[in-house]
Subunit: 299 residues, 2 copies
């Protein structure tokens, strides 16, 4: 009997995607950071959900405020990855009846503080009994049609960027990261961004998603990858999940224009190449090796 | 130290509602079957979420097909209770890695079959490791502004109706119920419906929600309550959760017009009265007693 662990998280997702049909109002269904839906003449609606659970995405020791904050921040980051603005969310909470009310108050405070900061309206929710604390957030956002960026738009010759240092999530950044909403909006308003994703599963795995959706290859350079001070080594920066920096690509000409602005934080890490070259990492001695996308997987 | 079980599910919800602020685009936030959001000139958007969990809302013995079906049906029922049409959903799945892939295939089939039947597009999701099978569905719908019905609109003199027999959920109906979407649409297109809710926690508890939101009282008649053949007694019909019939109220004049249509299924069970009379049940001997809203509570 085949079990979930045999086909893995991405095996399951591709299995599910194959059986789904959607109507013409769905611009993009599953397979990106958000679903993209028709809204009005100039805008699309974005729709995303993220479930975080005790023992997987956080421990109770992390404290209720940061747990609540994280529950919302991961969805805001998904909206950012499509270059949209978050607007509304609903929150489902699976929780034990023995939870102190004070814990819930602080969890709510974590949720409401970040909601306020990013102009998200908390408009509803559901509460269920559960052994393991589980929080599922669904979020709606909007994006101007001209600003929408998907995973699938990378082109040969695109320069690959990240918005900040990688590999720091293991030592706590996964709880206190800043969703790169401002950066995403700045980028799409001022430059032609061909593809974008947030790094929630690790750099190589998430770049792998862009390559798969765009049917392209990539070369990245070990020397160029900005490694967080909290990372233990380059490997953390390559494959530790939950940095929640944005990974994006733009045409070389645009990248030159972008470079002239001398904006801090953004780093070039490589370029998009033809699919036949695969996905390669060049080490500091100039030696190339094939990258097998590695990162966080639930199964 | 005060625990969740001390303040209870509704204590927690009212605590949360007090601390939430929303902007002018939110017509109705938490406190109804769906959140109601501005959409365009003639329509509102509806947004709702429901989490179901193993050991609380179903057991694995119920089988994956019906579990998947239920996960979606409860949200469709929420959209129906606001007289809208469901359009899109995202599904978060907390699941063990030891789950057979066949189980997941059947779960997905349950989800997709009911989604297709009610024209719901499954547009995304999230998968997380979990000990207890947990499914959270968030759903978007639309409703014409003129058709929207909330819990808060009941008026003194309104006649109280239900769409079908009550008390059958314990013996399985909670898995195979039909969301009353067609009925809700028929009602609001043809009659002036003042308030509506779906019975997910039990008749008295859910009528209690209408009374609270509308600041009214009610009298219901034991003899009039349609008891399911699967119910063990009147008490099941009064307080067993998850019948997912609709409970609604309309002015007496409308009710007379409605009555003339001799529509099967719909049953009058009582009337809305002034708040000062409270919530009363008249037994078959004509004796009145105060109703303390009873039904399913998570804590």
């Amino acid at each position: 009997m085949t079990l979930l662990k045999d086909i893995g998280e991405f095996g399951l997702i591709s299995r599910i995607r194959k059986s789904i049909k959607t109507d013409a109002s769905v611009i993009k269904g599953s397979g990106d950071d958000c679903a993209v839906l028709k809204l009005d003449k100039n805008r699309y609606q974005l729709f995303t959900c993220d479930m975080i659970a005790e023992g997987v995405d956080f421990t109770l020791k992390d404290g209720p405020y940061l747990i609540g904050r994280k529950a919302l921040a991961v969805s805001i980051s998904d909206i950012a990855a499509c270059a949209g603005l978050p607007r509304y969310c609903v929150v489902s909470l699976g929780i034990s009846k023995h939870t102190p009310v004070k814990f819930i108050d602080k969890l709510l405070k974590g949720i409401l503080t970040i909601a306020k900061k990013y102009n998200v309206n908390l408009v509803g929710g559901d509460i269920s009994r559960a052994k393991q604390l589980t929080i599922d957030v669904s979020m709606l956002g909007v994006v101007e049609k001209k600003n929408l960026v998907l995973r699938s738009g990378a082109r040969v010759g695109d320069v690959i960027f990240v918005t900040g240092k990688l590999g720091g999530s293991i030592l706590g950044k996964h709880l206190s990261f800043t969703p790169r909403l401002k950066e995403a909006r700045f980028l799409t308003k001022n430059f032609k961004i061909n593809s974008m994703i947030d790094i929630s599963d690790g750099l190589t795995q998430d770049l792998g998603h862009i390559l798969e959706e765009s049917e392209k290859g990539a070369v990245i350079y070990a020397d160029l990858i900005p490694v967080s001070r909290q990372a233990r080594n380059l490997n953390d920066a390559l494959s530790a999940g939950e940095d929640f920096e944005l990974l994006f690509t733009m045409p070389f000409k645009e990248a030159k224009r972008f470079h002239k602005r001398e904006l801090p934080g953004f780093k070039v890490i490589g370029e998009i190449v033809d699919k036949k070259y695969g996905f390669r990492l060049v080490d500091k001695h100039g030696k190339e090796e094939a990258v097998k996308a590695k990162g966080f997987r639930h199964f």
